[in-house]
């Protein structure tokens, strides 16, 4: 247990191994650890950002959906209004058309009536003339009695 050259041997070995560790071991490993740390930090940041983006997109989608729903409701409302309007219009048209048809029919009927009445009148006057002839046994001069006949016709 005496102090001897081993002391210096150990010192030389110490300086060699410390130098080796300082040059060949410590820097690459620490550099790799720092690099990985940065990478992890970056990854976490990216994940964070992605999450934020997702949240934003979800919110936007929700907004769009809400807007679409509102729009759809508006469109439906409009359509309902429009259809009601159309029905009303159709009813009004139909009513007007009916009115018009009725009026036309009434006019036709009146015209027919008038015509029938004319015809009847003419026939009755002719019949009256024939009757009078029979009664008078002579021919009535149609021309000379035209005035009288006309009056008769008008009376009928």
């Amino acid at each position: 247990m005496n102090i001897n050259l081993t002391l210096f041997g150990q010192m030389i070995a110490f300086f060699f191994f410390v130098w080796f560790c300082m040059r060949m071991v410590w820097p690459p490993i620490v550099a790799a650890m720092v690099a990985r740390q940065e990478q992890i930090a970056e990854g976490l940041e990216t994940a964070d950002r992605a999450k934020k983006d997702l949240d934003l997109a979800q919110k936007r989608a929700m907004d769009e959906l809400k807007k679409a729903r509102v729009e759809a409701a508006e469109i439906i409302e409009q359509a309902r209004k429009r259809s009601a309007q159309m029905v009303e219009e159709a009813q009004r048209d139909a009513r007007a058309e009916g009115e018009r048809l009725k009026q036309a029919a009434t006019a036709d009927v009146e015209q027919e009536l008038r015509r029938a009445r004319e015809t009847l009148r003419a026939e009755v006057s002719a019949l009256a003339v024939v009757g009078a002839e029979r009664i008078l046994e002579r021919s009535v001069d149609a021309q000379s009695h035209a005035e009288m006949l006309d009056r008769l016709v008008a009376d009928l």
């Binding site: 005496n2 001897n4 041997g9 410590w26 620490v30 650890m33 690099a35």
Partner: protein, 292 residues
């Protein structure tokens, strides 16, 4: 007692305390002036300074190469693929480096960690492995060396050799002096040990105080590690002398186990203390004009 020809416990213990010493034979020896392995403890003693403990040196350097090899492998793979997901060995090494870096950063407040942190890592792991050799059963490797390889003496725990622990401590001391002078200049360093703590009128007193304080650092650093590990090794050896009969042998085995379990605590603790104190001393070397 595994070794066959040691008859007494005394011999056994003495045998376990001799390093494999390669040195120059002293005057008066039949091979005076020649270099060779000492064949006994007294011969190793007589060699004096011109000798080297081959076992301590070999185990110390071997262990350093062992862990540096793995560190280097991790460093190469880390440099080739820095962003890879770490697995296995790389996880272990990175956790260790993270731990050391945090430790150093909490003590050493300068931004440039490039000297101190790798030094701390080297010290911690190296001392840890050297201490760990204490957990190898005391007779195992010496027995193999003696009967398998014909090596008479073999101490496998480098940190029970004061040469190794003082070698580490003096290396740290050298770094303390080097960084003190580099950071403060030679004048600044001398001023620090001369005009502190009592002003310039008591310069000799200051100098005596500071030099003692400075020298106490490596001495306490080296001797603490040596003392702890040497005493622990000694206890392992003492318990091993109990292997004489069945009952006492079993008791000895139990004690060995209990002591080894306790020693698991000592192994990393002493490594950690050595590292932290080295970092603290170097921090003081870097710090300028701070109050003690």
């Amino acid at each position: 007692m595994a070794s066959g020809f040691e008859t007494t416990a005394e011999d056994y213990i003495a045998h376990h305390l001799v390093n494999a010493t390669f040195g120059r034979f002293p005057d008066g020896h039949e091979r005076a002036g020649e270099w060779g392995f000492a064949s006994s403890g007294s011969e190793a003693e007589a060699m004096g300074f011109m000798a080297i403990h081959v076992d301590s040196m070999g185990w110390s350097i071997g262990l350093a190469i062992f862990f540096m090899y793995f560190f280097r492998r991790v460093a190469v793979s880390a440099a080739a693929n820095p962003a890879a997901i770490p697995t296995g060995l790389r996880n272990v090494v990175e956790a260790l480096i993270d731990f050391i870096e945090g430790m150093v950063k909490s003590v050493f407040k300068h931004p440039d960690l490039s000297y101190v942190a790798p030094m701390a890592l080297t010290i911690f792991v190296w001392v840890f492995f050297m201490n760990l050799m204490d957990l190898v059963p005391v007779d195992l490797v010496p027995y193999i060396a003696q009967y398998g390889l014909g090596i008479e003496y073999m101490k496998i725990v480098p940190s029970t050799d004061p040469n190794i622990t003082m070698g580490l401590a003096l290396s740290v001391f050298t770094l303390i002096i080097f960084f003190s002078i580099r950071q403060k200049g030679l004048g600044g360093f001398l001023a620090e040990i001369s005009f502190h703590p009592f002003g310039k009128w008591l310069l000799p007193f200051n100098l005596a105080l500071e030099v003692v304080g400075l020298l106490a650092k490596p001495v306490s650093l080296g001797l603490r590690l040596f003392g702890n590990l040497f005493s622990a090794e000694m206890i392992f050896i003492l318990i091993a002398t109990m292997y004489t009969g069945l009952v006492i042998g079993l008791l000895g085995g139990l004690l060995q186990f209990a002591w080894a379990v306790f020693h698991i605590l000592v192994v990393p603790l002493q490594a950690f203390i050595f590292m932290v104190l080295s970092v603290v001393y170097l921090t003081q070397a870097f710090d300028e004009g701070e109050a003690h």
